[in-house]
């Protein structure tokens, strides 16, 4: 049996995603996850020996890995790197790096706590969106899957709400465009891409937070999926502003005020 290289690579990628899910969730349903291996072997996309190897990896992934034993040299390099991060990067980046180092078991919890104390101070994000002054409806069109639904103008900030959607593959093997899509066929943006806000008077908006929910399954390009998301920015939109510009990935939306 000869499996074409792109397909072999895809099978490999898919199984690494499945393994990552087990490692993340420490799955209590091993049958549900090894079933991916069985299915791929059944249709001839995995050789029996490779299937066995993957079953071994999946079994290992259900238990947490042991902490790493680092040599003095690696410890020294890690210390130098973290010192640079603490001095040169923002608190958010520093925190993400520490989270990574913890996840990779390169630092133990006590070391992570000690490094956390060296992070730059947090920006004051305690802005309260008390008074909703106006809701502006976004443009009716969708670009690369994303549509800005509304912009809520508060006395101390702005909330931008986005809807992202991807149709499922139809019986003719194509993705029919959604009725409001203005760039059919263009590569979609990710619903989790960074959303940027600007206006025509040069206000610098900073992100206060946000959230979202939805989406499809990992690596599943066939099923329809949606994602709704809201991003909150400060400061408030100045009265002199006549236009807001929202960008996500390669999509740009102009919103008249």
């Amino acid at each position: 049996m000869s499996i074409p290289e792109p397909l072999r690579q895809r099978v490999d990628d898919v199984l690494w995603v499945e393994l990552g899910r087990i490692a993340d969730e420490r799955s209590s349903h091993p049958a549900a996850t090894t079933d991916a291996i069985d299915a791929l072997e059944h249709i001839g996309l995995l050789e029996p020996a490779d299937a066995e190897m993957w079953r071994g990896r999946f079994a290992e992934a259900t238990t947490p890995p042991d902490p790493m034993e680092l040599t003095a040299e690696v410890r020294e390099r890690l210390h130098t790197y973290l010192t640079t991060v603490m001095a040169e990067e923002s608190r958010d980046v520093g925190a993400a790096v520490l989270s990574d180092m913890n996840e990779f078991r390169l630092l133990d919890p006590a070391e992570v706590s000690a490094w956390y104390k060296l992070l730059p101070p947090a920006e004051d994000r305690n802005v309260r969106l008390v008074q909703l002054e106006r809701t502006v409806i976004g443009p009716a069109g969708r670009r690369r899957g994303a549509r800005i639904v509304t912009v809520d103008l508060f006395d101390h900030g702005v909330a931008v709400r986005m809807h992202w959607a991807r149709p499922g593959r139809d019986d003719t093997d194509r993705f029919p465009p959604l009725p409001d899509e203005l760039e059919p066929g263009a590569r979609p943006v990710s619903p989790l891409d960074r959303l940027r806000l600007q206006d025509d008077v040069g206000t610098v908006y900073r992100v206060l937070g946000g959230g979202g929910s939805g989406g499809g399954g990992p690596l599943n390009w066939d099923a329809p999926a949606t994602y709704v998301r809201v991003d909150v920015f400060a400061p408030h939109v100045p009265e002199a502003a006549r236009q807001l510009v929202v960008r996500i990935g390669e999509s740009t939306f102009e919103i008249a005020l």
């Binding site: 690494w16 549900a32 079933d35 969106l129 709400r161 619903p191 939805g214």
Partner: protein, 220 residues
């Protein structure tokens, strides 16, 4: 393969990136930074790092390997899935779809999101902030989404409750999604989705909280 904690942790991050769907710039940057650091401090080698970089890049596009599968393999995949119980079905279905052996149209239990197609968006009139502040509604083809903000009162109560909807025709709406409650600040955005979509003859919906009217939103 040896039990390499770095590789298992990379797989965890990879699975998280894969669920971005397609992978976001942020996840790509994070993964790239992580690999650079792991390589620089010497806990992974250049070959492993290159392999994972390539794998992460491949998350960004539809690989199009469907064309490489035979009709026989696709038929086999459909039959295989039909024999699985509910517990085993999920992993098999996910993998078979991801390699293109099954398509969305092959599935018998298609669950299309209620909120796939946006029909139009309407703003709510300004109203006195109470437990919730309603800002707008999205009329989907098969549902209605309500955008609202959690007010001070409900934040203090610490018991998340949901708004409800009625319209002038007496339609019964079922809450099917949301809210994304965040209690650390107020008011904080939330979204609720109800089915069905309001009938075209409906003139307004009334949003209620604890059975009390909050605001009426005109639909036409």
């Amino acid at each position: 393969m040896s039990r390499d904690p770095v590789v298992y942790s990379l797989a965890e991050q990879y699975a998280a990136g894969a669920s971005d769907h397609p992978i976001s710039e942020q996840s790509r940057r994070n993964a790239s930074r992580t690999l650079a650091v792991l390589e620089a401090i010497g806990v992974t080698d250049a070959e492993t790092a290159a392999e994972w970089r390539a794998r992460i890049e491949r998350l960004g596009s539809d690989p199009g390997e469907r064309a490489l599968l035979s009709a026989g393999q696709r038929a086999l995949a459909r039959r295989y899935l039909a024999t699985r119980g509910p517990q085993g079905k999920l992993g098999a279905r996910r993998a078979l779809m991801a390699v293109g052996a099954l398509t969305w149209s092959d599935l018998t239990e298609r669950r299309e999101p209620h909120t796939l197609v946006v029909d139009r968006v309407v703003a709510a009139p300004r109203h006195a902030p109470s437990a919730i502040i309603v800002s707008s509604a999205v009329l989907y083809e098969r549902a209605i989404g309500l955008h609202w903000y959690l007010g001070q009162e409900s934040w203090r109560a610490m018991t998340p409750r949901l708004p409800s909807l009625v319209d002038d025709l007496g339609t019964s709406y079922l809450h099917v999604g949301g809210p994304a409650l965040r209690a650390e600040r107020y008011p904080w955005p939330a979204t609720s989705v109800f089915t069905p979509a309001p009938p075209s003859a409906a003139a307004f919906i009334e949003v209620r909280w604890d059975e009390q009217p909050v605001v009426r939103v005109r639909l036409r």
